[in-house]
C-alpha cells in the first residue's frame, strides 16, 4: 500500500542513507538490544521497504517504529545528513493513519485537545497537587507512578507565566512560550526565565493567545493535532524579536515550525532555547558572572538540545557563570529514556535507560544536576529520588545570582565603609 498521507518520509530523506552504520553505536535502543531492527539504519531500511512496496505498514513495522525514542542521537553523526527525526515523525503519522486504534485516538485527544486546553490542565494539575500531597500518586499504576514520582511538588507553586508582560525592552522583545505542562509543573523554570530576561533588558511577554507547541503530538505521529496547535501559536508570537522556550523539547519543535504551519518559517527562525538566550546575554555582559565558588554540578544534555539543536556549550557557560564547576555525566550524550510519551509506552526500555543514567550520575558523586528539559528532569528524579537535586540551568544560575547579592548586602551591612 505504501504511504497514504502527505506526512510520509520523502524519497530525498530516505535516499540520504547509504547504510554505512555510523549511527548504530550512538543509538540507545541498538545499544540495549544489539538488534538491527532497533537501530536508525534498520528503521530507515524498514521505511524504504514500505516506500518500495515490499512491506506493509503492519504490526511488526509499528513495533519497530514504536521502540525508537526519537532522541535523534543518530543525526549529528550522520555524514549523509539524513533528517531522521523528520522521517520518523512522518512515519508515525503514517502508522496512525494506516493502523487506527483506540490508543491512537486517545493519545490524539490527549496530545491535541487536552494539552491545548489551559483550563483543563490547570484543574487537572491542581487535583494532581492534592493527590501528591495526600500521597495518592503512590497508588497510580506502576508505569504512571514513575512519571508522578518525578514531579516537583505541585502544591503552593508559584503563578503561571502565561499572560505575563514586563521588562524595559532595551535589549529587544521576547515572546515566551509558557508551554502546556511546563507552565503547570515547572513554573519556577518559567519564572526564572522571565526574571533573567528582564534583568538582561528584554521586554518579556507570554501571550495569552498561545497554546501547547505541539511537540508531543508531532513526535507521536498526531500530525493534524500538531498542525492545529502550530496554527494557533504562529499568529500569537507575531512581532517578537525572539521566541523563547524553557524546555528543550519545545524549543526544538518551534525551530521546526516551517514544516508545521503556514508562515511557520518566521516562528522557526526567531525561536531559540532559553539556555542559548541566557548564555548570549551573559556573553554580551547583560547578565552577571558570579565570582563565588559554588562547587560541582553535573550536566545532563537533553537530546532535543544536544542532538536536535546541537546546543552543548550554552548550558555549561551558564553554570560556569553561576560559579559552578561543571562535571560531565555522559560524554556520549545517551538519552535518559524519558523521550516524551516513551516513559509510558515503552516502560521497560525507558526504565533501563533511566537506571543507566542514574548510575552514571552516582558514579560522578555530584549532588546537583542541571537539565534543560523537564521530561529528563522527571525521569532522573524518578530514578534517583532525593539523592540528587535536579533543576534547570537557569534556575541554578538565578539562585547563584540571588545568593551572591545577599552576601554582598550582608557584607555591606557589616562593613559600612
Amino acid at each position: 500500500m505504501g504511504w497514504v498521507t502527505e506526512e510520509h518520509p520523502t524519497d530525498q530523506e530516505l535516499d540520504a542513507c547509504v547504510q554505512c552504520g555510523l549511527c548504530l553505536p550512538l543509538c540507545p535502543t541498538f545499544r540495549l538490544t544489539g538488534k538491527e531492527t532497533a537501530s536508525p539504519r534498520g528503521r530507515l531500511q524498514a521505511m524504504n521497504a514500505v516506500r518500495d512496496g515490499l512491506f506493509e505498514v503492519d504490526e511488526t513495522f509499528e513495533h519497530i517504529m514504536d521502540f525508537c525514542l526519537g532522541c535523534r542521537a543518530c543525526e549529528p553523526v550522520c555524514p549523509g545528513m539524513v533528517p531522521y527525526g523528520r522521517a520518523l515523525e512522518g512515519t508515525r503519522a503514517e502508522i496512525v493513519a494506516q493502523r487506527p486504534s483506540a490508543s491512537h485516538r486517545l493519545r490524539a485527544f490527549l496530545l491535541g485537545s487536552l494539552l491545548g486546553s489551559r483550563g483543563t490542565l490547570n484543574v487537572g494539575s491542581t487535583l494532581l497537587g492534592f493527590a501528591q500531597m495526600l500521597r495518592l500518586t503512590e497508588l497510580a499504576p506502576r508505569r504512571y507512578r514513575r512519571l508522578t514520582s518525578g514531579l516537583r511538588p505541585l502544591r503552593g507553586r508559584s503563578d503561571a507565566s502565561v499572560g505575563h508582560s514586563g521588562g524595559s525592552g532595551a535589549a529587544g522583545s521576547v515572546g515566551l512560550l509558557s508551554g502546556c505542562v511546563q507552565d503547570q509543573w515547572f513554573r519556577p523554570t518559567n519564572r526564572a526565565a522571565i526574571e533573567l530576561l528582564e534583568m538582561a533588558g528584554y521586554r518579556v511577554e507570554a501571550p495569552l493567545a498561545q497554546t501547547c507547541c505541539g511537540a508531543l503530538a508531532a513526535h507521536d505521529g498526531k500530525a493534524p493535532e500538531a498542525r492545529s496547535l502550530a496554527a494557533i501559536n504562529t499568529p500569537a508570537f507575531d512581532g517578537y524579536d525572539m521566541i523563547v522556550a524553557t524546555a528543550a523539547g519545545c524549543s526544538a519543535h518551534l525551530r521546526e515550525y516551517a514544516h508545521w504551519a503556514d508562515d511557520g518559517e518566521s516562528v522557526g527562525s526567531r525561536s531559540i532555547d532559553i539556555t542559548v538566550a541566557i548564555a548570549e546575554a551573559i556573553e554580551r555582559g547583560l547578565l552577571p558572572r558570579v565570582e563565588t565558588d559554588n562547587g560541582e554540578i553535573g550536566i545532563q544534555d537533553p537530546c532535543h538540545l544536544r542532538h536536535a539543536q546541537r546546543v552543548t556549550a550554552e548550558p555549561r557557560a551558564i553554570l560556569e557563570a553561576a560559579g559552578y564547576q561543571v562535571v560531565e555525566i555522559d560524554p556520549a550524550g545517551m538519552c535518559c529514556g524519558a523521550a516524551g510519551l516513551y516513559t509510558i509506552l515503552q516502560p521497560e526500555a525507558s526504565q533501563e535507560l533511566g537506571n543507566q543514567k542514574a548510575e552514571q550520575i552516582r558514579s560522578t558523586g555530584v549532588k546537583r544536576v542541571a537539565s534543560a528539559n523537564s521530561g529528563c528532569e522527571m525521569q532522573m528524579r524518578s530514578a534517583l529520588g532525593d539523592e540528587v537535586e535536579i533543576r534547570h540551568p537557569i534556575e541554578w544560575y538565578l539562585d547563584a545570582i540571588e545568593a551572591a547579592r545577599t552576601r554582598v548586602n550582608v557584607a555591606a551591612v557589616k562593613d559600612p565603609s
Partner: protein
C-alpha cells in the same frame, strides 16, 4: 521440530527473529547485495553459538555470522539463505594490563575496546574507518586494516589467540599468550577467512601503549601527482609515519559540507599525515614531512592545533564514504592495492574508465600502503545504471591488477569480488583454498558462496548450490 523452534529452545525467545520485515533488515550488510535470511539469532555465549551451529547442521541450513553489518563486500549477506548469527550481544572485555592483552567478545565494537583500554594507557591499533561501529569479530573475519595500520600492521598482527566454533559445534582455542604457538598457525588461517571456516566467538588481542605524543599534518597540493609523490618519497627514504591518507577535491567538498573540518576544498588533493612517539621525535618527523611536502610543491602545511582539531580531521577522513550520500543515494566502493610507485598512473586509469562510462568517481585512500578506494557515486534507480557501475568497477579492479596490484586491501572478498578471484589465482591456487575450506567445513554451511568462486575445487561439478539470488548484484 522446525528450525525456529529448535533455535528458540536453545536461546531465549526474543533472541530468535523470524518476522519477514525483521529478516529483511538483516538481509544485507553495507554493500549493495541483498540475500534472504531464514531467521536471525542473537547469541550471548560461545555455548549458544555451538548449539546454533549444531542446529544448522541438523537442518542443513547455512549459517552467516554478522557483527555490525558495515562490510562492503556482502560478506555478511545471507545470499544462500539460512541463519544470520548476530554477535552484537557477545561484548565482554577481559583486559590483562600486565601482559597488555585482552580477551574480547566477537561483538565488541572496535572503538569501544580502545575506549575501555584507555584508562590503562592502552589501545587496540587497527582502526578501520568504521571503527566506531565495526566489531572485533568482523575485523578478524576480514583481517581489517585502517589508517594507522601503515606502521602497526592489520588485524592479524594484533590477534594472539581465537576461540572458534567449528563444524559439529566443536569449540577450540587457537593460539594463545605465547608469542609463537607450536604447530601449524591455524589461527592465522582463520583470520581473514570471512566466516567461511567457522565462527569466531572471542579473540585474544594485543594492546599497544598509548602514544606519548602525536603530530597531525594537513597538507594541500595543487595536483594529485604531487601528493602521491610526497608519499612515495617518504617511504623511499625509509620513513614510515603512523598514517598517510589522501583525499581528492570532490571528496573533501562532500565532507566539508557536513563537518566543517577545515579541509582545503580548493586544493586538488589533501594529504593527512600523522606521526606518533616521543615529543622530540614527532617534532622532528613533522618537520621532515613538511620539508618533503614543500619539495613537492605543497601549497601549505597545517598542524592540528589540539586534540579536538585532530579528532575532527580524522572524523572527516573516516566518515568520507557516508558523506557521499549527500550527492547520490548509492555508492560503490572498490578496495584494491597497487604498488605505491604506480599510484598516480593507476588513478589516472581509474579516472579514464569512469569518464568512459560517464560516472562520477571520488578518491579517498590509504596512500601509505597503496590501498586505493575509488568510489563511484550513482543512483541505482536509474535504468541500466547498476550494470554500468558493475562493469566500470570490474575494469577498475582489472587496471589495478595489471599494475601489479591485489584484489583487496582490507575489505575482504565476500561475494562482491568472488568471481574476480580467478584474475588473481590459478586453478591450482583456488583448488588448494577450496580443499582447506572443505577440511574445516565439509557440509559447506559456514557462509557459503563467499570468497571462492563456483568450481574452485578441481572436479567440482557445481553441486546443488543455488546461483546468486535474483536482484543481488555482484
Amino acid at each position: 521440530m522446525s528450525l525456529v523452534d529448535d533455535l528458540r529452545s536453545a536461546l531465549s525467545h526474543d533472541r530468535v527473529l523470524e518476522e519477514p520485515l525483521e529478516l529483511h533488515l538483516y538481509s544485507k550488510d553495507a554493500s549493495m547485495m541483498r540475500g534472504e535470511a531464514t531467521c536471525v539469532v542473537l547469541t550471548e555465549t560461545t555455548d549458544e553459538v555451538a548449539a546454533v551451529v549444531r542446529i544448522a547442521e541438523d537442518h542443513r541450513v547455512p549459517i552467516v555470522a554478522r557483527g555490525a553489518g558495515t562490510g562492503l563486500t556482502a560478506g555478511a549477506s545471507p545470499t544462500e539463505g539460512g541463519i544470520v548469527l548476530s554477535t552484537t550481544l557477545m561484548n565482554d572485555i577481559e583486559i590483562d594490563v600486565d601482559n597488555r592483552t585482552a580477551w574480547v567478545g566477537a561483538g565488541v565494537i572496535n572503538l569501544d575496546l580502545s575506549t575501555y583500554a584507555e584508562p590503562y594507557g592502552l589501545h587496540f591499533a587497527p582502526d578501520p574507518s568504521s571503527q566506531s561501529v565495526c566489531t572485533i569479530g568482523g575485523n578478524v573475519a576480514n583481517n581489517s586494516g585502517g589508517a594507522h595500520c601503515l606502521a602497526e600492521g592489520a588485524t592479524t598482527s594484533h590477534v594472539l589467540g581465537l576461540e572458534v566454533v567449528l563444524a559439529g559445534g566443536e569449540v577450540v582455542v587457537l593460539g594463545g599468550e605465547a608469542p609463537d604457538s607450536p604447530g601449524l598457525d591455524i589461527k592465522g588461517i582463520i583470520v581473514g577467512s570471512e566466516g567461511t571456516l567457522g565462527i569466531v566467538t572471542s579473540a585474544l588481542v594485543r594492546l599497544l601503549p598509548l602514544d606519548p605524543d602525536v603530530r597531525t599534518l594537513l597538507i594541500d597540493f595543487e595536483t594529485m601527482e604531487e601528493a602521491t609523490q610526497t608519499v612515495s618519497d617518504m617511504i623511499a627514504a625509509g620513513f614510515v609515519p603512523a598514517a598517510l591518507e589522501i583525499m581528492d577535491q570532490k571528496m573533501m567538498v562532500a565532507v566539508e559540507n557536513w563537518l566543517h573540518a577545515g579541509f582545503p576544498t580548493d586544493a586538488a588533493a589533501m594529504l593527512l599525515a600523522e606521526v606518533v612517539g616521543e615529543t622530540e621525535a614527532v617534532t622532528a618527523e613533522a618537520a621532515l614531512i613538511s620539508e618533503m611536502a614543500y619539495k613537492n610543491n605543497a601549497r601549505g602545511v597545517e598542524l592540528a592545533e589540539d586534540e579536538a582539531h585532530r579528532a575532527k580531521l580524522w572524523k572527516g577522513r573516516k566518515s568520507a564514504f557516508g558523506a557521499l550520500a549527500q550527492i547520490s543515494p548509492d555508492y560503490y566502493l572498490h578496495d584494491t592495492v597497487v604498488p605505491r610507485s604506480r599510484l598516480v598512473e593507476t588513478m589516472d586509469e581509474v579516472q579514464q574508465i569512469a569518464d568512459r562510462y560517464g560516472l562520477d568517481v571520488y578518491n579517498v585512500f590509504h596512500a601509505g600502503d597503496g590501498n586505493l578506494h575509488p568510489l563511484i557515486s550513482f543512483d541505482a534507480s536509474e535504468e541500466g545504471m547498476l550494470d554500468k557501475v558493475q562493469r566500470a568497477g570490474e575494469e577498475m579492479v582489472a587496471a589495478c591488477l595489471r599494475n601489479g596490484g591485489a584484489l583487496s586491501g582490507e575489505h575482504g572478498i565476500g561475494l562482491e569480488k568472488r568471481d574476480m578471484m580467478r584474475a588473481s589465482f590459478t586453478e591450482l591456487d583456488l583448488d588448494a583454498q577450496a580443499r582447506l575450506k572443505e577440511a574445516f567445513d565439509p557440509e559447506g554451511l559456514f557462509n557459503p558462496a563467499k570468497i571462492l568462486p563456483e568450481g574452485s575445487r578441481c572436479f567440482d561439478f557445481g553441486g546443488t548450490r543455488r546461483p546468486i539470488p535474483e536482484g543481488a548484484w555482484v
